[in-house]
Symmetry: C2
């Protein structure tokens, strides 16, 4: 009924697998009437094989449908030619370009990318990272969810090159590539202040997350520089799911001292904020962290602090491969600048708000 070649019968009676009975170099060698090592030489285009022998081997390879088993090769050579990427959520539009950029650099170095989403859960991050280490990836790019990475110490000192992105490593000294969250946030809030706002709300990510804290610092710094007081009710850090953000925004916009402008701490917050503001009479101003597609086509266009996700990924991957090629410097932190893109939503003056 089924093809006998696909069965699991073994030559030697053991329960070893043979990967669904795929042909090996040994099989190719037998068929071509040459030695095992000669097949290896042909497969790897090593010199020292006569054209005639090479032809016979090639024929046997084609006839049997042989493909080299890279698992065995990896075991023997000790390099996996693969890098691991652990991020928060592949479905988030911020991480798509970042991921793609890492992949491109890896490809340039002949490496494949193994991918995993931590779902912002530190335990899952650790589980993923260690699974990748067990596979002996050559290097790791990590967008951390947790804030304690001491579990990585033995791996790093065993030679797994590691670069953190978007957020620094916790409690270990390690390469990192970050965006200038503090500066970007300060610019965003200064922009709102320049347009006349005095009561400004900040809705950010969970305080466990480094970028959330940095952006909060930037917010406070801008307010402080302008000599403006800050009300605790104007700051809200927490999960960025729509319901939480919606509640936070509503509270700020309708409290006893309602804010006249919002600063949104990341792209998901911004999107929800846009919805909240669109549903309300009398527009409040808005600046968001992270650019997003079509931000310019909304009315008003959404003013944002843009960071270059692809550049973040590219920089990190390049640092990784420099280490893999033997660079033995001290761990570095690279901070990439952000850019304020004014599109209108940040320029709405406070006078426009309705008094309830």
């Amino acid at each position: 009924m089924t093809d006998p070649a696909r069965g699991t019968t073994q030559r030697n009676g053991t329960t070893s697998p043979r990967y669904g009975n795929r042909p090996t170099m040994k099989d190719v060698a037998a068929r071509a009437g040459v030695g095992l090592k000669t097949v290896s030489r042909v497969v790897n285009s090593e010199p020292g094989v006569t054209p005639d022998t090479e032809r016979r081997v090639q024929e046997a390879i084609t006839a049997l449908g042989f493909r080299r088993n890279d698992s065995a090769r990896i075991l023997r050579k000790g390099r996996t030619a693969s890098v691991g990427l652990v991020l928060e959520d592949l479905a988030d539009p911020f991480y798509g370009p970042l991921s793609r950029a890492v992949e491109e650099v890896a490809r340039d170095h002949g490496a494949l990318l193994i991918n995993g989403s931590s779902a912002e859960d530190p335990a899952r991050e650790q589980e993923l990272v260690l699974a990748l280490c067990a596979r002996r990836v050559d290097g790791l790019v990590v967008i951390p969810a947790g804030d304690d990475h001491r579990y990585l110490e033995p791996e790093i000192s065993a030679g797994v090159a590691t670069v953190f992105v978007d957020r620094p490593a916790g409690r270990i000294n390690c390469d990192a590539v970050l965006s200038d969250s503090f500066g970007g946030a300060r610019d965003a809030v200064a922009h709102l202040i320049a347009h006349g706002h005095r009561r400004i709300g900040f809705i950010g990510d969970q305080p466990r997350i480094h970028t959330a804290i940095e952006r909060l610092r930037g917010y406070r710094a801008a307010m402080s520089v302008a000599g403006l007081p800050v009300n605790e009710a104007w700051m809200s850090l927490g999960a960025t799911d729509p319901s939480r953000v919606l509640a936070a925004a509503e509270a700020m916009l309708s409290g006893p001292e309602p804010v006249t402008a919002l600063f949104a701490g990341n792209n998901r917050v911004t999107v929800t904020a846009v919805r909240v503001l669109a549903a309300r009479p009398g527009r409040a101003a808005l600046v968001g962290f992270d650019d997003f597609e079509l931000a310019d086509l909304l009315s008003p266009g959404v003013t944002v602090v843009a960071q270059d996700a692809a550049q973040l990924g590219r920089t990190a991957a390049n640092m990784l491969f420099r280490r893999l090629e033997g660079a033995d410097e001290e761990p570095r932190q690279v901070v990439l600048p952000t850019r304020l893109i004014a599109r209108g939503s940040g320029e709405i003056p406070p006078a426009h708000r309705v008094t309830s």
Copy 2:
């Protein structure tokens, strides 16, 4: 200067790598004063080890910082517990959720995901797929760029489970999960016709791509059912970069027989079309294939034919693992329905256009 443990000195004088001198089970066994197999048993929580022995082994593992080398394990067991995902571009918002869904299902089955972008290049697709096969991934999820997949035949009959997504395999019989492109396109165009449009333009992807052809077929079917003639100048298939789409849209909107509505063949085309229409006086109607974030907040809201990318990925991954668990059925094609979401841009009547 550097830590001697990280050097490449070998015990036996060969050039073998030892993964940066990481400890192996042999080292653990020596330190714990037990046999190799006993360490293996402890690491894999196999029964038949006394608590005392187990403790000694665990201590040695901790002391040496041992972590099992999965490359060797994979070689021995013949299962890699990893699946490959080849898609067009990880940075495209359509593929993010799809990718994430595949990852989640893989995770439920204890497998990791190896990811690659083909950049819509058939040669690169093949290169990636074969690289994944060489690593002996257990299964493959492929969003094909090419239209001839005979190169996969030896791999599939060697036991690599394979499922195509979004577009069917070319010239081989293989599992596939698709969206109902034909039906969705027909509904979209019927929607425009129902709102009074008679001259409707279609801008789609390259004709090499299956979904582009299907959506064109749906467009033609809807026009035909309504008894409407179709002008060749109203159909444009090609690359979906903004410049090409912009040119095509401008041509259709300003020719001798200008269209009064556009049907955009995928999310990238839709975004560009929104820009073109926003920049023009006298709004033409628009329906797009694929939903996108904030489509409802544009004015007018963009009417779309939505497909569920995550569901596409989930379904494909489930089919894959069913095969891996031994299901030995004929290859199947699953077609998932699409859903028309009316938001306003499709309901603009043709009377609104300006006559030039």
